[in-house]
Subunit: 209 residues, 2 copies
DNA sequence: GTGGGCTTGTGAATGATTTCACAAGTTACA
DNA sequence: TGTAACTTGTGAAATCATTCACAAGCCCAC
């Protein structure tokens, strides 16, 4: 398959949200214009995005809400369950552990790890925090595929490498640290400080333009 | 000034991190190649990014770490203090309130709001959570410029509008909700569910490519 | 002060993404 | 069946972002 731009994948994920909302509202079909209106884009963009994966619309009518939802879910890999571990049971790690939104999307938390004695043994949403030393040993049993990494920046690189050795192929990193991803492992970043700085850039330079 | 791409601003913010790290390591100058090596980019990209704002390097030598830091900080609007409120003192809101990283960068939390009686009156890092009804009334005194919005998705749009009326010009939204930004207000999103879905897309389609 | 070695700054070229524009297909309805 | 009103799917054009490539400038050693 031809390479798909990240911007396209990001929009697909948004379209899926709008489709689910439309389904809740009882709609059976939706046009590219409707989808574009809900996100901040154009109908041509929506059609182009979808066209990379085939053609699932009906001319004159639009897209079937349920069929398109199913297809996008399939493209994004959401038809299956993903086994997720959280590394770092601090403030962010605990919030992630207790967040219902992930479970609803098929991300199942199978383990939580920390290094601090005060955190080990604590139960978060039914899962007991374990010592980070057990990460590799537990992997055979838990078969984790994705890690949410919420440790201090100085610990991040080491844990990415350990996670990779434990068979984890995807990492969502919350630490503001540059990370070298081992081969075959996809690392993405949620960097709140960066977003805040982009915001203050925009506010500072709003008048100029 | 010519319009600057968001990707450029995002990289500037990263360069600033690397510069601060280099300063801690005692370096006085740094070349575009060094900066590129620390982030995942090329030296031409670094020079092009900086060239939009002027020329601060010395041929043959590179950039002065302290001068370039100062200049980027100025571009991003980090030379001043920003007055920030947190709306929604739940799990994410509380984590944000207690995070030291923001204060270190000049983002000062001046107020925290919630609607739940159980949360109102709680003290987070020295700031008492107040009733969200007071948001507008407090604004004259607190003069907030940025809001971190950590409420359920259904409440997000209303609060963006109220924040705008209270004089807030920039909003960092954590709720997975599409939001219509009032004129003159910049809204950015930190969408963890979206990032996770991009990750599972990458894992699902890793072999093909 | 001269020359060798580095590094910047920037037009021009390339590559990627978005927008345009329209033929072709579908529905609704008389 | 005919036609009016829509909407998709997609090449082509336009726009935007990155990479190339090199002249120009500076440092330093001698
Ligand atoms: N609002 C926020 O809290 C916020 C915002 C932006 C970024 N971040 C980043 O997210 C990360 C986590 O932040 P936090 O606020 O949850 O910090 P925290 O200190 O509350 O949590 C970090 C946890 O990681 C654990 N840890 C440390 N080393 C470990 C190791 N080797 N193995 C396993 N666990 C280990 C600590 O014991 C601690 O419980 C940090 O990198 C921080 O910079 C946090
Ligand atoms: N790990 C996470 O917790 C996580 C991950 C991704 C996204 N999010 C999103 O972040 C947002 C907050 O998540 P959370 O986990 O902190 O939820 P939470 O339920 O712990 O906190 C939400 C808080 O907002 C308050 N609130 C509700 N309506 C309000 C109003 N009108 N004014 C002021 N406060 C109001 C509630 O009382 C509650 O304290 C949600 O939109 C959630 O979808 C959370």
């Amino acid at each position: 398959m031809k390479h798909i731009a990240e911007s396209t994948v990001r929009r697909l994920s948004l379209y899926l949200r709008f489709l689910e909302q439309s389904r809740r509202e009882g709609k059976d079909t939706i046009s590219s214009g409707d989808l574009a209106g809900l996100g901040g884009t154009t109908s041509a963009q929506v059609r182009k995005d979808l066209s990379f994966f085939g053609s699932f619309g009906t001319r004159g009518l639009g897209y079937s809400v349920s069929a398109l939802s199913r297809r996008i879910r399939e493209i994004l890999g959401l038809e299956r369950e993903w086994r997720v571990v959280i590394i770092g049971a601090g403030k962010i790690g605990a919030a992630l552990a207790q967040y219902r939104g992930f479970a609803d999307r098929g991300y199942r938390i199978v383990g939580i790890y920390d290094v601090a004695p005060a955190r080990i043994g604590v139960s978060l949403d039914g899962i007991t925090v374990r010592d980070q030393k057990e990460l590799e040993g537990d992997a055979a049993r838990l078969k984790p595929e994705i890690a949410l990494l919420a440790v201090p920046p100085t610990a991040a690189q080491t844990l990415v490498e350990r996670a990779a050795k434990a068979g984890i192929r995807g990492i969502l990193n919350f630490a503001p640290a540059q990370i070298h991803a081992p081969a075959g492992v996809e690392v993405r970043h949620v960097d709140m400080a960066l977003e805040l700085e982009i915001l203050s850039y925009a506010l500072t330079n709003a008048r100029k333009k």
